[in-house]
């Protein structure tokens, strides 16, 4: 016999931990239809016949957020065989509020009393049997973090599901209110409505969602019942909430023995005194952010002269991939030139671009998961709220923007945690302005070739500041002219600080990276092949001209003659006012939309004619044999074949060489134009993978188009200003 058991509970009640315990790796993450709320399903690892559904964490079943509507529609309409209601024993009063509403729906229920270890440590005693007696459903004490009580919990849940045990009606409301509910229920029964008891309460609570599901006539008559008992304009909703809490207070008095009376200062309170302190909060936050970036992107980890875990992992992945590429190249070596080029330059390079990112994203995500799971992220959101509010955002927008420094794709995905739609839309746009990892090589290339006599570090840092300043201005403008919803409220539970388990952080981090790799991967993969095609072919590829002219019979052409060059020539005039209206920089912009790091690769390829064999030999002659070995030449010996790759990979860009790409200076003549080019690439539409993520979060192509348009216009206007104003000074 197979059963579906749903997990319900407040946010931070340990629901996700329990879900991971129950399902192990057998879980699927998807989206609930029509909304961007994660839908998580899995099978019980001890019994494949049991399907576990993780409902979104909610405080109640009222219909005011997407999460609440999903949770209650699932319970009421899909009718799972049983619901496990997870109650955080350390804040039992508040948690039981949801419990009452779940029991009201009449679904077979088991209550899991979680965090019992912390309850005991406090000296409190919760009488599970007493609670079970009061509510008429099984109550099982558990500790989800270490798996204690979970077997018993599942045994009870299966029993309840088998027996289809509907919970009894509880004496929650006073006589007058219950009488009114009964009258309303009778009306609903007469009209043939199902779940009449539950709907009666909801209608009296002015639940718009349910009101929309019954006839006008019925709605009116229920309204009359309420008016007869309470007079017109009575706030029954408040009365219902009030009486639920009063009932819970009585239950708690009967079943819970507090070790101490009143509130005792906990460890979390003490930590909050420091971490949310009016003076210390921001400096501590700055240090935490520094550590976060040091672990992901730094090549000088904590000034120890070693690579950070992120860079280190990326290096390993890259070398494995390089080895694999060589292997594959050997396998297709005999194939025709275009097949070889497709496999090696197109597919392998495209996949390599995704794989190169995964370690950085993984490390960043694991660290962010740690900050979220331990409870600190909620404090950061609160502490920053005041600053973000000035720019028309909420403190919660910080998390997605932070992720934007790594990669726009997870950043855009993270906007779904924002409550207000306005915040979500604006943050999605702003995330694209952040200097993601793939934009850094562009800055490095330009700074080293066109800003040789300037303070290069300063130029690079100024771009970071630029992105933040532009984000602030755009947010203010969007608030003023486009999304005029007014300021949203900040209200957030600050969970207790807990040291998260390694398992939960890894699952949490991996879940997101997996989604990123698969979804973003397909976009990057397909578009890499597209760019490979556009930059290696032209019309002559298909009429035999290329094949006849080339030595090896290849139908491919040089990039200078390719479709890509034609595209570049068409759009180049658009960039004239920005100072870089030539086809090669224009092609750079276009390939940047596929993946930002492509800009550098494109430049290296397009200005390749400058880098002749003679030039390379001369260039590398300045290095000693040890240095050559360090740069990647085998045994420290100069090798003409390897020189090209090594040169374009980094020597040129890190060291700085104004004569490296002489033609680049013909196309981008002034420093103002060079800076405008960097700014344009920083701010314009992010890569297609990120646009795909934006579409998922904004739901429609229309909204996505609007967001991309804002990014494009911003990039153009700002780059224009840089070129014109900068031209006066630089």
């Amino acid at each position: 016999m197979s059963y579906t058991i749903a997990l319900a509970g407040n946010p931070n009640c340990g629901k996700t931990t329990l879900f991971n315990d129950l399902t192990g790796s057998r879980q699927r993450v998807g989206n609930w239809p029509g909304v961007t709320v994660d839908k998580k399903e899995g099978t019980y690892k001890k019994d494949k016949g049991i399907n576990i559904m993780d409902l979104p964490g909610t405080y109640s079943l009222s219909p005011y957020s997407a999460e609440e509507i999903i949770a209650r529609d699932y319970i009421v309409k899909e009718k799972p065989d049983a619901v496990i209601d997870i109650v955080d024993g350390t804040s039992i009063e508040r948690n039981l509020y949801l419990t009452l509403q779940i029991l009201e729906t009449g679904v077979p229920t088991v209550i899991a009393l979680n965090m019992m270890d912390e309850v005991e440590a406090r000296g409190d005693k919760i009488g599970a049997e007493k609670l079970s007696e009061i509510f008429g459903v099984p109550v099982v004490p558990i500790v989800a973090r270490n798996g204690k009580g979970i077997l018993e919990l599942m045994a009870e849940a299966v029993e309840v599901a088998k027996g289809k045990k509907t919970p009894k009606k509880l004496p929650v409301f006073d006589e007058k209110l219950q009488g009114t509910i009964d009258d309303a229920k009778k009306l609903l029964d007469d009209a043939g409505e199902t779940d009449s008891q539950w709907k009666a309460i909801k209608l009296l609570e002015n639940d718009e969602n349910i009101a929309g599901q019954v006839t006008e006539e019925l709605k009116k008559r229920v309204g009359e019942v309420a008016e007869k008992a309470y007079g017109s304009g009575a706030d029954l909703e408040a009365a219902v909430a009030d009486q639920r809490y009063q009932y819970i207070a009585k239950v708690v008095k009967d079943a819970v023995k507090k070790g101490t009376t009143g509130h005792v200062e906990t460890k979390s309170d003490k930590l909050d005194k420091i971490l949310t302190n009016r003076i210390l909060a921001l400096p501590i936050f700055a240090v935490v952010m520094y550590l976060l970036f040091a672990c992901t992107n730094s090549e000088n980890f904590l000034f120890l002269g070693i690579n950070s875990p992120g860079i280190w992992l990326a290096g390993i992945v890259e070398s494995i991939w390089g080895w694999l590429t060589d292997l594959v190249a050997g396998l297709v070596g005999g194939a025709s030139p275009w097949v070889y080029s497709l496999v090696v330059d197109g597919i392998m390079e495209g996949l390599g671009a995704i794989l190169g990112f995964i370690p950085l994203v993984l490390v960043l995500y694991i660290l962010i998961s740690f900050l979220e799971d331990c409870g600190y992220m909620a404090r950061i959101a609160f502490v920053l709220d005041r600053i973000f509010r000035r720019f028309g955002l909420s403190g919660r927008s910080f998390i997605p923007l932070l992720q934007g420094f790594g990669c726009s794709v997870p950043a855009v995905m993270a906007t779904r945690t924002l409550e207000s739609e306005k915040d979500r839309k604006i943050t999605t746009i702003l995330a694209g302005f952040m200097p993601c990892g793939a934009k850094l090589p562009i800055f490095a290339l330009f700074v080293s070739t066109l800003f040789v006599d300037s303070n290069q570090t300063l130029v690079t840092y100024s771009l970071y500041i630029f992105s933040i300043v532009v984000a602030i201005i755009v947010s203010l403008l969007l608030n003023k002219f486009v999304y005029k919803d007014g300021a949203s409220n900040f209200i957030m539970e600050l969970p207790q600080y807990r040291i998260p388990t390694l398992k939960s952080i890894l699952i949490h981090g991996w879940e997101k990276v997996k989604g990123f790799a698969v979804k973003a991967g397909t976009v990057i993969f397909v578009s890499t092949i597209l760019i490979w095609f556009l930059s290696g072919f032209n019309f002559d590829s298909f009429n035999g001209t290329n094949a006849a002219e080339s030595e090896d019979g290849s139908v491919m052409c040089e990039m200078n003659d390719s479709f890509m060059a034609s595209i570049g020539n068409v759009i180049a005039p658009i960039f004239k006012p920005l100072g870089f209206g030539e086809w090669r920089p224009a092609v750079g912009v276009v390939t940047g939309w596929i993946a930002k790091e492509n800009v550098v690769v494109t430049f290296a390829q397009l200005y390749d004619e400058d880098v002749t064999d003679e030039y390379l030999e001369e260039y590398f002659a300045q290095y000693s044999s040890e240095e050559l070995e360090e740069l990647g030449f085998e045994d420290g010996e100069y090798d003409a074949e390897a020189a090209g790759d090594i040169y374009s990979e980094g020597v040129l860009f890190e060291g700085g060489d104004e004569n490296a790409l002489p033609h680049m200076k013909d196309d981008i003549k002034t420093k103002a134009a060079a800076y405008a080019y960097m700014v344009f690439n920083l701010l314009c539409m992010p890569c297609f993978a990120a646009v795909g993520a934006m579409k998922r979060e904004l739901k429609t192509w229309k909204e996505t188009g609007k967001a991309v348009a804002v990014q494009m216009v911003t990039a153009y206007v700002v780059a224009l200003l840089v070129n014109v104003v900068g031209g006066l000074f630089l």
């Binding site: 405080y59 109640s60 009222s62 005011y64 350390t90 804040s91 039992i92 009063e93 508040r94 509020y97 909703e237 408040a238 909430a241 009030d242 809490y245 509130h263 979390s268 309170d269 909050d272 005194k273 949310t276 302190n277 009016r278 909060a281 909620a378 609160f382 502490v383 920053l384 709220d385 005041r386 509010r389 403190g395 300021a487 409220n489 900040f490 209200i491 957030m492 539970e493 600050l494 969970p495 207790q496």
Partner: protein
């Protein structure tokens, strides 16, 4: 008086809320109901940290000034 005027350490009872129905409902779900005792346990430029039904809730000042306490 408004909740926003309370000092750290002070405990008072909630009287009413002035504002949108939607926000009111959310506050109710978090335990902000008439007669409930709230304690201010922290304060910073962003707003206040309150203890409601044994749970820490952070609120911005604008919202706290629309919750009336006695």
């Amino acid at each position: 008086m408004a909740l926003a005027m309370m000092e750290v350490g002070e405990t008072r009872e909630i009287k009413e809320f002035h504002g949108k129905e939607e926000v009111k409902r959310h506050l109710q779900d978090l335990g902000f109901v008439k007669g409930e005792r709230v304690q201010v346990i922290g304060e910073n430029p962003s707003g206040m940290i309150l203890l409601v039904k044994g749970v820490r809730i952070a609120l911005n000042r604008g919202l706290a000034s629309r919750i009336m306490v006695v």
